[in-house]
């Protein structure tokens, strides 16, 4: 169970997160939607310790991780797939994956390199080339697999389908569903509504640095006012 409570964070004097709160259980996918600048990526960074939160709690399995160093948070079982992908371009594909390997905490799903290669065989074929030479889709899969090899119990995935071809978007969606099947708590930041609605159990909408809507995909679809007020650009 990942539980974020009253999370506040700022870039200098700019107060970006103003009390973000949500809860997600293992084997569940929650998608955070919001306009550009609503604070979705900042939420990831604050939860992950890459931006020290001003206050609030990040509870994973009941342990408060807020304010800890990001390596501590990762070791506690929280994984992060950044929007910019941040692959290590000078390392080979396999070396990138090895960088992610960590022993699993008890109760966390365990992933092996071979299983992940089976999910996306292109990476197996390119395992010995430098990751900087991969296409955008291959880099995205590599980034997700690198984090999964750390055997997290919860994972934050920021804009995984941005700039990807529809065929690759489907592969990404399938990988996210596989994470859910293995019991991970998945928090997805996504702009592609069609993809999000296919996989998510809960929709969270962000605006003004807070969660302004939380509900099932059906409840979200049934309330066009939410979309108009918080997602559509006038």
């Amino acid at each position: 169970m990942l539980s974020v409570r009253d999370l506040h964070a700022a870039y200098g004097n700019i107060h970006v997160l103003r009390g973000v709160a949500f809860e997600i259980a293992g084997g569940e996918i929650a998608t955070i939607l919001g306009r550009n600048g609503s604070g979705r990526s900042t939420t990831c960074k604050a939860v992950m310790g890459l931006l020290p939160p001003l206050r609030g709690q990040v509870l994973l399995g009941g342990v408060d991780l807020a304010g800890r160093e990001s390596h501590d948070i990762a070791r506690a079982g929280l994984g992060y797939v950044p929007e910019e992908r941040l692959i290590f371009t000078t390392l080979t594909v396999e070396e990138n994956l090895i960088m992610g390997q960590k022993p699993a905490k008890s109760g966390a799903a365990r992933w092996s390199m071979d299983e992940l290669y089976d999910l996306f065989p292109r990476l197996r074929e390119r395992r010995n080339i430098r990751a900087g030479f991969l296409s955008g889709g291959e880099q995205q899969m590599l980034t997700m697999f690198r984090t999964l090899l750390g055997n997290p119990s919860a994972i934050l995935i920021d804009e995984p389908t941005e700039g990807l071809a529809p065929k690759i978007v489907d592969v990404v969606g399938e990988a996210i569903l596989e994470m859910k099947r293995r019991g991970l708590a998945v928090v997805l930041m996504e702009q592609k509504l069609s993809m999000a609605m296919k996989v998510t159990d809960t929709v969270l909408v962000m605006g003004h640095g807070q969660i302004v809507f939380a509900g099932s995909p059906q409840a979200f679809e049934a309330d066009p006012g939410i979309r108009r007020q918080w997602l559509e650009v006038a």
Partner: protein, 311 residues
């Protein structure tokens, strides 16, 4: 031919000495981006630490103690000093390490005096390895070269084939991401700084026996090692080795040339063009300037250096 071979060998050994000191700076400055002006001071400390400890535990023990002691000094310098100013940028790093450079030099002067100490090659290692013409090549110079090569292959293998080396290479490229994958980057960087300092300490412990061990030895190599790292390419061990050897050989040959600039102008049929002041200047007198001239050319032609991928 003999003179050529002797100059070549001398140049290669000097180049390898420069590489020994540059290897650590390649890790510290080239990979971590820490502008450590005091790096050559660690080389000096290595010589004094080996001189001091070697009197009690012998030559080989002295090498080990000097390497470890200077590694520790480096570790404490990074954790207690450099880490505090890192977030303020290179200017603060440069000022801090510039200050450290003088503090260490003055400290050594205070403890050991301003003149060279009697740190000498042990008798059992003082013999001729081979002779070329009339020139004898001491075994100890071979040992210095071998130490440098061992340092190169050891560091290269550690970076290329070990898990910690993999983490270091990744952390140099994207420290935040490495941290988000569960690796403690500040500890990795402290370790890297300590290893870089220890390598400089080992270089000083070996070279200090052959060249004078004095407080001036940091000055003598201080700037040249930065030249090597820039010419070789930031963060490239191969590049640093190539640059060191090139500088060593180039300097050695320049020192050995007995002609003047006047001779050169006349050989080119430009005798009348030679400036009066330049006519009598020996080529050998510009040997010390050559590495810096080479650095200028490399920066103009290839700012990332021989093997670097970032300027």
């Amino acid at each position: 031919m003999d003179a050529f071979l002797v100059a070549l060998l001398n140049g290669l050994v000097y180049g390898l000495l420069v590489f020994m000191v540059s290897a650590g700076l390649t890790l510290v400055f080239g990979m971590m981006g820490v502008l450590n002006f005091a790096h050559a001071s660690f080389y000096m400390l290595g010589a004094y630490a080996a001189f001091l400890s070697g009197r009690y535990i012998g030559f080989w023990g002295g090498l080990i103690v000097a390497t470890l002691a200077v590694g520790l000094v480096g570790l404490f310098s990074e954790r207690l000093l450099l880490r505090k100013v890192r977030s303020f940028g290179h200017t603060q790093e440069l000022l801090l390490t510039y200050g450290l450079f003088f503090v260490l030099e003055e400290l050594v002067k205070l403890l050991f005096g301003p003149t060279p100490v009697a740190y000498r090659v042990p008798d059992e290692l003082r013999f001729t390895a081979f002779t070329i013409g009339n020139s004898q090549f001491p075994f100890f110079r071979l040992l210095m070269g071998a130490t440098a090569l061992l340092m190169f292959f050891g560091t290269y293998a550690a970076l290329r084939f070990t898990r910690i080396g993999l983490i270091v290479r990744a952390a140099v490229e994207r420290p935040q991401m490495v941290s988000a994958l569960g690796h403690n980057v500040p500890i990795v960087f402290s370790g890297l700084f300590a290893v870089g300092s220890a390598l400089a300490g080992l270089a000083g412990a070996v070279a200090g026996m052959y060249y004078p061990t004095s407080p001036a030895m940091a000055h003598e190599l201080g700037s040249i090692v930065f030249v090597v790292v820039v010419i070789g390419g930031l963060g490239s061990l191969n590049g640093a080795l190539a640059a060191s050897l090139l500088i060593g050989v180039m300097t050695s040959f320049a020192v050995g040339v007995e002609s003047t600039f006047g001779d050169l102008f006349r050989a080119l049929g430009l005798g009348g063009l030679a400036l009066p002041g330049l006519e009598a200047v020996q080529f050998s007198s510009i040997a010390g300037v050559l590495p810096y001239a080479l650095m200028l050319l490399v920066l103009l032609w290839r700012p990332a250096g021989f093997a670097g991928n970032r300027a």
